[in-house]
């Protein structure tokens, strides 16, 4: 079987055992890899209702047929499990040498089960698997842990690790890989922590089986060079993702003051131009052609790597407009191994709740020192407030009461990304129907929405575009597994991906073949949610209530007086369900499931909720 190694490594931390499990070509073709493998395995193997932070959950690292192959931006891996944030399917992707090394070690995925007796580092080298003590770094942050691992093995290994946030099971703890940053904001770091799994270290020495290795090598290297040249020509990397901050501010889409405002006169202080001026270094993942990570010095002189999401949510969203201060908040999140995006939204929610009298406290918008202190309390789950904010904004809102749930900026329990959709219906839908809770990675429709449709429209053209982008971003790039940036930011053609797929697997697929796989994966994820929430209804796919509140409308600027409208949003959601072949609850119909080759999965789902 070319393209895949054909094996999954299954490790049990309780029993300290491991086995190599071959998978069939049919499984490979049906689910491809990455998110596809993870969703199918978790659906088949997890019992409904298990505690995501208990030993019955599984931590999966999954790769795809082009992961790790030298070609544009293929150094990425998917991490997955049942999400401690949402209670539904959870995953995330991150740049990491693990994508290269695990494939070279002979595996397309790693499944970690059970719970270790003591803090453990899993070391994988080809056929060898070791369960090593990690007590020396338990309690340490991700930077010190990474240094400890490199001192032991050198920098040629792939590393996934967690900080204090993961150890203490902060529900939005992430998995860190300093070769490429963080991933799994659905709480995959907490899942590792719950298993006392401090780190996974991987070294591989075998060739990855490919149909046409010489052809892939030549085309891969040529394309690496070409994408890099296009990036240099277009200049995308000059401001990287943060170029969009100034634009969001201009079109009233920036999160300011817990998303209460959509723009701010001081936003220019933290825009892409200023970030480029403050740049001290640039970081990328393995096989990267267009490095997106820009580092600056924070207010304590440490290197902190910033992008738009963490600037938007730890900066303007908290009314902080100072790069060294934002850098410091970002550094702490990275050191503790907690998600910068959820952390920004949790802190802004807390300040808003205090502001609105839902809870007593002295934390205010603009208080960078207070925010730093709170991040420490959260990472250590220290004190009543640290422990509560470690649970995320939805759970904190349910504790605070007083209507505060309306301005907890989340969908399905996962906090939204840095796009203020107070009056951007299509992007609000994208957050609403993201299969893991609010996330921008699935579908980003704002520029389409503003350029090619009327902003006021709730028409099917927006639902159709959301689905098109989900198939590409949440589908193709999540199961191949590869970074989406060459396509989305410098226009590297989608037709290149079937080309790479053919070179490695020998299979001649069209893009439409891939979209069927994308739809299949989204459907099995929906079944996972149905199983966990049998009483599920379409309200699960609604964005935060505050975006519908006329009292929250801007009083000036491009969208003064305008907010989302419930009836119209519900109509847009119905367009989405209709195009996808979902019922009124947002669950795929039997006919849809059968069309996607999921008849068996549908039968299994019948036990947990009625199918239409």
């Amino acid at each position: 079987m070319n393209g895949w190694t054909g094996q999954i490594l299954r490790v049990n931390l309780t029993a300290k055992t491991f086995k190599k499990e071959p998978f069939s070509e049919e499984f490979a073709r049906k689910w491809i890899g990455g998110r596809g493998f993870a969703a199918k395995i978790l659906y088949d193997e997890l019992k409904p209702g298990i505690d995501p932070l208990g030993p019955d959950n599984k931590f999966i690292v999954a790769l795809g047929p082009i992961a790790g192959i030298p070609a544009p931006n293929t150094g990425k891996a998917v991490v997955a499990g049942k999400s401690p944030m949402t209670g539904g399917y959870g995953d995330g992707n991150l740049g990491t040498r693990v994508a290269v090394e695990l494939r070279k070690a002979g595996y397309d995925a790693l499944i970690v089960e059970g719970k270790a007796e003591r803090p453990t580092m899993l070391y994988i080298e080809d056929d060898k698997v070791e369960f090593l003590p990690a007590d020396a770094v338990w309690g340490q942050g991700t930077y010190a842990t990474n240094d400890w691992i490199y001192a032991k093995y050198g920098k040629g290994v792939g590393v996934l690790n967690i900080g204090q946030g993961g150890e203490n099971m902060v529900r939005y703890a992430v998995v860190r890989s300093l070769e490429g940053r963080a991933g799994g904001r659905t709480g995959m770091g907490a899942v590792m922590g719950s298993k006392l799994l401090k780190a996974v270290v991987v070294k591989g020495t075998k060739p990855i089986p490919q149909a046409d290795p010489a052809g892939m090598k030549k085309i891969g290297h040529d394309d690496l060079r070409e994408v890099h040249e296009i990036d240099k020509k277009t200049g995308w990397s000059i401001q990287s993702t943060n170029g969009v901050l100034a634009w969001c501010n201009e079109v009233a889409a920036l999160p300011v003051r817990n998303f209460r405002k959509t723009h701010h006169p001081d936003a220019w202080k933290v825009d892409g131009e200023r970030l480029n001026n403050a740049r001290i270094a640039t970081y990328g993942c393995p096989n990267c052609t267009m490095r997106c990570g820009i580092t600056i010095h924070d207010d304590e002189g440490r290197e902190s790597e910033l992008d738009y999401e963490n600037i938007g949510l730890l900066g303007p969203n908290l009314e902080i407009f100072d790069f060294p201060q934002i850098g410091s908040l970002n550094y702490l999140c990275d050191e503790y191994g907690i998600d910068t995006m959820s952390a920004g939204c949790v802190l802004s929610f807390y300040a808003d709740a205090i502001d609105h009298g839902a809870v007593a406290g002295d934390f205010k918008f603009g208080d960078a020192d207070g925010a730093k202190k709170l991040l420490g309390l959260i990472a250590r789950r220290e004190g009543e407030i640290g422990n509560l904010l470690a649970e995320g904004s939805l759970r904190a809102a349910r504790k605070f009461g007083h209507g505060s749930e309306a301005y907890a900026m989340q969908v399905k329990g996962l906090e939204v990304a840095a796009y203020n959709c107070k009056f951007i219906p299509g992007m609000a839908l994208a957050f609403g129907v993201s299969p893991i809770g609010a996330h921008h990675k699935e579908s980003w429709v704002i520029t389409f929405e503003l350029k090619q449709t009327s902003r006021e429209s709730y028409g099917p053209e927006k639902a159709k575009k959301v689905i098109e982008l989900q198939r590409i971003r949440g589908g193709l790039f999540e199961y191949m597994v590869s970074c989406r940036f060459p396509w989305i930011e410098v226009g590297w053609g989608l037709e290149n991906y079937p080309k790479y797929f053919k070179l490695v697997t020998g299979l001649d697929w069209t893009l439409d073949d891939f979209w069927t796989v994308s739809d299949r994966i989204y459907s099995v994820i929906k079944l996972f949610w149905l199983r966990e929430y049998p009483q599920t209804d379409r309200k699960l796919d609604y964005p935060p209530a505050v975006w519908f509140d006329p009292a929250n409308a801007d009083t000036e600027g491009p969208i003064a007086g305008m907010v989302l409208e419930y009836d119209k949003y519900d109509g847009l959601l119905q367009h989405y369900y209709d195009i996808r072949g979902y019922d009124k609850r947002g669950i795929p119909t039997k006919a849809t499931l059968e069309r996607l080759g999921l008849a068996e999965e549908a039968k299994a789902a019948e036990k947990f909720g009625s199918m239409t």
Binding site: W236, V244, E250, T447, R455, F485
Partner: protein, 75 residues
């Protein structure tokens, strides 16, 4: 009439300024303004006028703020 032009992202380096106020003839359109500031017409872009998308033939008014951005696709 006076309009303010603001460039976004790599357009700042590509076209040599970040923001400037211009005196333009009455009736200047969004497309006309792009030509005036020498922005490569073939380069994909999104143009907004006072925060809302502007059509190429849309006439500008005194005091307008026009933002010209590459087409971001979201990190």
């Amino acid at each position: 009439m006076k309009v303010t032009v603001k460039l976004i992202g790599p357009f700042v380096q590509a076209f040599g300024f970040s923001e400037k106020e211009l005196d333009v003839p009455e009736g200047t359109t969004a497309d006309g303004l792009i030509a005036l500031v020498s922005i490569d017409k073939g380069r994909p872009k999104i143009v907004t006028r006072n925060g809302r998308a502007a059509a190429p033939d849309e006439a500008l008014a005194d005091g307008d703020r026009v933002v010209i951005s590459p087409i971001y696709s979201g990190g």
